[in-house]
């Protein structure tokens, strides 16, 4: 469906995918962390907000490239973050 290419929905927020995919994670974070911004779901704890931004921005970039399911919720985000963490911890081949 065309809406999946245009918008990403994360817990009731639809992001302008091409707009954010063209911006850096830092720019995304700077906007999302503003006190008046309504981009991060209110139930995300303060300590997890940066992590949430990193995962959401990653998903936006993936969605812009036509990968993955852009309609996700917090549990899927957590799973995605956990998977990313696991990949990071994997020892490099040869070590």
């Amino acid at each position: 469906m065309s809406k999946k290419l245009k918008d990403i929905r994360i817990d009731g927020t639809g992001f302008n995918v091409p707009y954010w995919a063209g911006k850096t994670l830092e720019e995304f974070k700077a906007e999302a962390m503003k006190p008046d911004a309504a981009m991060i779901p209110p139930d995300v704890p303060e300590k997890d907000r940066e992590k949430w931004c990193a995962t959401a921005h990653g998903l936006i970039v993936k969605a812009n490239n036509g990968e993955g399911n852009p309609v996700v919720n917090t549990e899927e985000l957590e799973a995605e973050a956990a998977a990313a963490e696991k990949t990071k911890k994997k020892p490099a081949p040869g070590n």
Partner: protein
């Protein structure tokens, strides 16, 4: 003197024959109407089969103004008010009355949808609409144009009568009248399509009004209520409209489109959408300048965002403090 032509001859040979078609149609009681903008036509491809034709009509109910169809179902009253043709003697030697002026078809209809709908119907008085009539068997009657396309009958008048209170003997009445403009369209160039009950699934658009709830930095919160009965669309489409593409943001001063970076439906307390406007563009505005915000077109809302049957009555202006 030679006769150059014979205007009332009808050709070298006559064109009349009296064979009866194997498949014909007898008009049944009117069940619904399709009012349409003057430019709306259905070509042969649109009429390829019933499903295609119904889809073509449905698409046009969501089209831009000027190309739109306005369906009206569940007629509860119908009176044919077509007058007799005017007849009279041609001169003092005439022995019989001849037809002087053709009768033009006119109908009185009634609906039972309520006051708000009746008030909306009055707006159609000021439009140059055409009309197709649908009978109880879902046959659609219109007129055939020279290019073979089907369209509605041109209207001489569309008028909405005052509603009447119920009485102990009868229900409230919501009457309206149409008078067609051309007997030629109605009689000689009559066109019909036998559709089916899927036609009745086609609905008209509901007007919605946007209002600014509050503004904080570059985030504007917007409420959408249906026109008239003030139902909050958030209760129905909170998630669907949490999509940047469902809205249109512009710089009022330049007319340029401005990016919406995100739309959130997280404010379930106030039942409003939080729309984050492009930070750079918002910062560039000077105090007292405006952005304008509106919903996207009914066609896009329906096809892309699955919010079918709603249209904004107009944009709102967001003033930079």
């Amino acid at each position: 003197m030679d006769i150059l032509n014979l205007p009332n001859c009808g050709g070298v040979t006559g064109t009349f024959n009296s064979g009866v078609n194997l498949c014909d149609i007898i008009k049944d009681i009117p069940y619904g109407l399709l009012l349409m903008d003057a430019g709306v036509e259905f070509d042969a491809a649109d009429r390829a089969d019933v499903a295609t034709f119904v889809d073509a009509i449905k698409t046009k109910t969501r089209a831009a103004r000027g190309s739109r169809v306005y369906p009206l179902w569940d007629l509860v009253n119908f009176e044919d008010q077509t007058k007799e043709a005017t007849r009279g003697t041609v001169g003092n030697l005439s022995v019989t009355d001849l037809k002087l002026v053709d009768a033009v078809p006119g109908f009185k209809f009634g609906h039972y949808k309520g006051e708000l709908f009746h008030a909306k119907l009055s707006k159609a008085e000021r439009e140059s609409l055409r009309l197709m009539i649908i009978d109880q068997n879902f046959a659609i009657y219109g007129t055939k144009k020279a290019n073979g396309n089907m369209t509605g009958y041109k209207l001489n008048e569309f008028s909405v009568d005052p509603s009447k209170f119920a009485t102990p003997q009868g229900a409230a009445q919501y009457p309206f009248n149409v008078v067609l403009a051309s007997l030629l369209e109605y009689k000689d160039n009559m066109a019909f399509v036998q559709a089916d009950s899927t036609l009745a699934n086609i609905s008209g658009l509901i007007d919605v009004n946007l209002t600014e709830f509050n503004l904080a930095s570059n985030v504007v919160k917007v409420k959408i209520l249906t026109d008239g009965d003030q139902q909050n669309l958030f209760d129905l489409y909170a998630t669907e409209l949490a999509a940047a593409g469902a809205w249109v943001l512009k710089n009022k001063q330049t007319g340029a489109t401005v990016s919406i970076t995100s739309v959130s439906a997280a404010d379930t307390t106030n039942k409003v959408w939080a729309i984050t406007m492009d930070s750079t563009a918002w910062t560039a505005l000077t105090s007292g300048q405006f952005f304008t915000l509106d919903l996207n077109t009914a066609a896009i809302l329906s096809a892309t965002y699955l919010v079918d049957g709603y249209e904004s009555t107009g944009l709102i202006e967001i003033e930079k403090p």
